[in-house]
Symmetry: D2
Subunit: 436 residues, 4 copies
């Protein structure tokens, strides 16, 4: 078997003081934090598309990453080389999971049956690789946005024949996911939105989307799939507006169309910030509904208005995210998929390793910090105490629906001007840094 | 009676060719468009707060607008002067409606009973002014964000005693609105959100908000109020994050908490753009749910990230908005309230007139343009034709829920690669300008 | 000769009332406005790259526009077909100018001499086409951003051997521009910036850029080139930060490095808005320095943070731009190049025509409106009057440098609190709409 | 003497492991880093305006911070109380410096002479307090933006009589700064910009600004002032556009108007991000010109488009800033002024302490991290090596201006396609976290 990442061996945990850039400083997979191993908390996954297909191209330039696994002329043989490289990499960084789109795994054509055949061939190959390595599939998905036919949408395309093709792709991707024991299945609707409202029947398109999701879910359940379905919100790009704008919008959609039983959210950091939210906000919105399924880990650039998908490195920000995830009970079915890409000019083979090591260490360190904060500081107590007035007396009656508006008025008139209570924001911000 | 806007008489319609800056060029209230008068389509309202209370101050400077109606030392007498000025202005610009917050009408204290007494005194006075002028109240509301006590929220305040005060204010404002025959009642939750998630129980706060809205609604219905309740979305400012972020978020909230029967949306242009949406988008989202109640008309500055609340003047943008409103059947209960303020340095008394005239003319002209487009162009047909594949055959079966995923796959395999269909965006954009 | 845009003939002026979507409604090239023909005011140019090379691809999907002129396997033959199509289109829309990058005209290789040969072949061909059609070259440029070698910059590349290649390309592009009688030469430094400051010596890179521009300018002047050099500012994309951020930054750079004699600005609308400015602002900055060379006309999407390069359609915005251009004396050497692309899903051959017609009509109409405002309203007088206090007396002395700080203090103490003078913003905004 | 911050004593350094929230964990003023004490590196200053005048008000609400030093009715007596409180606080947090605007120190009237008298009274009082405490004045400034008269600008006001008042205020503020041994003098032109270009002669306004700065500088030099003048850039707010947009714009202005000898920059973090830059970028721009004078330390909110002026807390971001400052040789004359405010709802007296402690510790820790990176890692070497090709041979000749464009072409043709060199961004980002 060819080695694609020559000269780079197994990445190991060496501790915070190591100067080896090809070692983990914080990610110690068997270390137990809050009753679980780091591995079980974080469920790291490598994203097939960015890591093994992303060629460094951007809207202003062609490929810069030239892959040795892209050389063969036969599509299936080439795809197997890529899969060899992928499993070599995933094994070397010691991640338990990977994620893919159908077209990441093997190039697609315009022929439905041929595509199915190709994907099945690679599914069989992946099954062997998974068994040999112990690596598992966190989730599968179908790419319903790159092909020219989806330029006006997939499940929301005004032309039913395009929607049918989307159905064909989803069916094959579900079959592959199930065959590989995939734990979840994701929908990211990159083209499910509009370029201009002037030509768009938004209502009808959204009804089609809901119908399509029901149809896909019903099929998967009939095939015995027990995992979660995830919607991944994003506000825009490539479309001017994407229907799955943010967590609140998607949850409203799932509730309206009776999809809450089967669907949860896969939240991406850079999609949160493009939507005008902190990632922490999106996490909290999902957790408050019991719908935090999984995470696409990356970071955006606060000065650039597109999806830069950089690897995460900000300790303060990830610590605040891990606080919410830990307090909220973790992911429901999913994990932390690095939907992140090395830069166009990161052309050394080692760069892909540095990127994943840095990302994993940032999360591992933040997990430790967050756990310390929750275990040893007054962080939780301060928040709980703020709401104490609703735990008894009239506040409790209000929560229970026992007070009417005149009651509220009379309580206010009787009690006079309330005292002023600090929100202690600066104190709490210092507390975070106390533990980093 | 003192005249506050001396030297400016009744603003009249003089037609597009007039060079009189104190005349309407497009707003001809009795002109019939699409079966209704302009007046009935547009339902223009003057906003009490910006026009008669807004002193030109901003975070970096004090008052620049010094009002002759703010001179008396007695709060009620001063409030009556302001109301005289307000009705003089509303009558001179010939708007059918006005809107207010409780504290716009008369200064409030920390004493619940005293506030009620003051508001009642002014309510009685307003009743006379309305009767004399024919001007009506489009909606009333309570200001639950300016007073120090609301610095941590009103209905979402962690301290129940603050929530009770919010209840007292809403009760009095509902009483006033009902007494004045107000057609709607608005909730804008300026402080219903958070400054930092670190100290916030978002779930509990949102449950309190829902409970509070039910409580207020129940009271008003018991008092015989038949009008609509509106939520006005805004993403942030003054808070870091406001729960009523945008139309989709508010609709999700109303659906979750069973408020859809009584509540609709009051959409503000500048709030749409702060939330990362076009105003057209927000209108369409509301209309698709039958929830477009009313509009706060203004415009933001695309380079400034706060609520500039400028008067609208962009014909292309307002035409696209009016297209959606006209096609969607207009407002449900509300109208077009100019929640807009003249600039800090617009210190001539005439500036307030220019601002309202310009805003009204922009809407009136856009109404005419939009009606022409709908009546005389192929605008609607182009959009309808795009979705024709769902009107019969397999597309229709899909909409009816009769196709499963395997059906879709088989249809795709049998029909082959779909043909490419242009979205005709540039054609449609030209069509708009054809009618301006 | 093959006809590439079959079924679409010569686009003619038919006047505002025409319903023919393939006619000009406002652009009447021989109509005289403010002493010059519309053609001479506007100098419309077609952009070779978007119109004949742009395949509709975006970061999330491949080509959607499949061109009949891209079919031949020989690069030069294929390039000639493309040039035939280009001149057919430019002639049909009746634009006087076009613009190109070297690699738009013919595909480049990694071989410097072969690239020169190819470009010379096409230059000869273009010369014939120009002579036959009367179409002229507004400006030429070299694409120093798409090739992999430029991933770390061109003139600012840390590796000198890449800078040398940039020099080779610029030399060939200058030779072609001069051979074709091009009136100007443009530098857009798409990769002249950084992806991260952590690896960047910004000072040294900017010094290299200045040196490179001097070197290129000196060569062109030696070859007898009399035209202008333009820098096109853009704040970012594809880089995280681009050195030619905006007009003020570029002017500061030109002044620092002694390039003001030969270089002016080519301002793009969408680059202005990405930099946080209105386009009007960028125009005024350039005009105030006598440096408005040319314009890349398009529009961005205010909700999307990347360069959407849509065709312009907003009458209010373009009118405000034309006011500044007209008052400022027009372009110095350049014109209005439509650096704009039809949407990914605008796949009808007619869409390219609709786009250019709509863009040209928007500018032509705005030119007429702006001229009316300048000729017939008090627009200029209002502004001039605002500054009247500096035209005589102490204000004039201040401008002449005759007052010291103590003088100012004494004038203030003597004259007391100044009177308040309105900025009349709403009046002026209404005035614009009066003339649209 | 009254104690205003009762119950809070001297803030001391206790080390990273302390759980005392009212102690420094990293700021150990006498600790030597890179040859200087922390105190000398950081030169921390308290901002008078936010800390002792800022009442928690915002555009949607009134004061929440009610100060015990604001109670007396006599303006000068009240101002002395405030100054007592200020020096108590500055001494307790052990900062070596403070900064003020004239109107922070004592309330101003509309009378020039009375204002001078008041300011002189407080200057005398401050002189005593400085002598007693050892606290020094980092810089003084005049507030030329809050008073109504400046609504159309101060030095750029279209009305000369307003400019004269600005001159009077600057004279008095310079006199006070000089009397107090202030080390620098700052100009922040909050209203030096425009609300709309429609009424603005930008060129003339900028010429007035330049003239005004020369006039003020000349006066101060005549009075013997040896310190620096600083311009503080900000892109907008309160104006739509502010002329001192960002570092590059201000430097261009200073160069054009021959002010580079006396003026440097005071960079504010939140102003950098409002202008679309990282703070690191602004620092590098200033340092590359030798113009980094001082810093206003704070942070913005990446989701809120206004100047939130929060206290800094992000270790990654401040570390990247300190790397640039350390490598660039530190501040020229200035220091780190906390132009930051506690939140509206931070109403405990201790909150002001937490805020300053957290900010100071973030900088102190980042200084240590940055020094470690510079001393012990290959961070500097990696960057230097990237540019090695310009240190000798043809690259060096290019830098020396010895190569013409044909030389570059011939070098490229002879050397062939350059090799691909990684930018190592992820490696460098990991390296930062290695040292945090
Ligand atoms: Co993702
Ligand atoms: Co992404
Ligand atoms: Co509003
Ligand atoms: Co608003
Ligand atoms: Co351009
Ligand atoms: Co562009
Ligand atoms: Co500042
Ligand atoms: Co600030």
């Amino acid at each position: 078997n060819k080695e694609f990442f020559k000269g780079i061996g197994q990445i190991k945990y060496e501790g915070p003081q190591t100067d080896n850039p090809l070692a983990y400083r914080w990610y110690d997979e068997q270390r137990v934090v809050a009753g679980k191993t780091m591995k079980a908390h974080l469920c790291f996954a490598v994203a097939y598309w960015h890591s093994f297909c992303g060629n460094g191209g951007d809207p202003f330039g062609g490929a810069t990453h030239i892959f040795p696994w892209d050389e063969k002329s036969d599509a299936v043989a080439r795809a197997k080389d890529k899969m060899d490289a992928a499993f070599e990499f995933i094994t070397k960084v010691n991640f338990p999971f990977y994620c893919f789109h159908d077209v990441d795994v093997v190039d697609h054509t315009s022929d439905v049956a041929e595509n199915e055949k190709r994907l099945q061939a690679l599914t069989a190959y992946a099954k062997e690789k998974q068994a040999a390595s112990g690596v598992k599939l966190l989730w599968g998905t179908a790419n319903l946005f790159s092909h020219r036919r989806y330029m006006n949408g997939a499940a929301t395309n005004p032309d039913f024949s395009v929607l049918a093709h989307a159905g064909a792709q989803v069916k094959a991707a579900l079959d592959a996911t199930i065959a590989l024991g995939g734990e979840n299945y994701v929908f990211w609707g990159g083209r499910e939105g509009y370029m201009t409202l002037l030509n768009t029947n938004m209502k009808r398109e959204q009804e089609h989307l809901a119908r399509f999701l029901h149809t896909a879910k019903d099929y998967a359940r009939q095939q015995g799939f027990k995992g979660n379905f995830f919607i991944e919100p994003k506000p825009c790009e490539p479309t001017k507006h994407q229907y799955d704008y943010d967590a609140a919008t998607v949850i409203g959609f799932l509730r309206k169309y009776d999809l809450l039983q089967d669907f949860k959210l896969n939240l991406e950091v850079n999609h949160a910030t493009l939507a005008g939210h902190t990632f922490q906000h999106e996490l909290q919105v999902a957790i408050d509904e019991g719908l935090l399924g999984s995470m696409d880990a990356n970071r955006g650039d606060y000065q650039n208005g597109w999806d830069t998908d950089q690897f995460p490195n900000n300790i303060n920000e990830i610590t605040e995210a891990m606080l919410i995830i830990l307090e909220g009970g973790g992911f429901k079915g999913g994990g932390i998929n690095f939907d992140a890409k090395i830069r166009r000019n990161s052309t050394d083979p080692a760069d892909l390793f540095h990127a994943h090591i840095g990302g994993a260490d940032t999360f591992a360190r933040s997990l430790l910090v967050a756990d310390n904060i929750l275990q040893h500081s007054d962080y939780k107590k301060i928040r709980a105490d703020r709401y104490a007035s609703y735990n008894s007396g009239k506040g409790q009656e209000f929560e229970a629906g026992k007070l009417n508006l005149e009651d509220l008025r009379n309580i206010a008139a009787a009690s006079g001007e309330p005292s002023v209570i600090s929100g202690k924001q600066e104190y709490l911000e210092n507390l975070i840094n106390r533990y980093i």
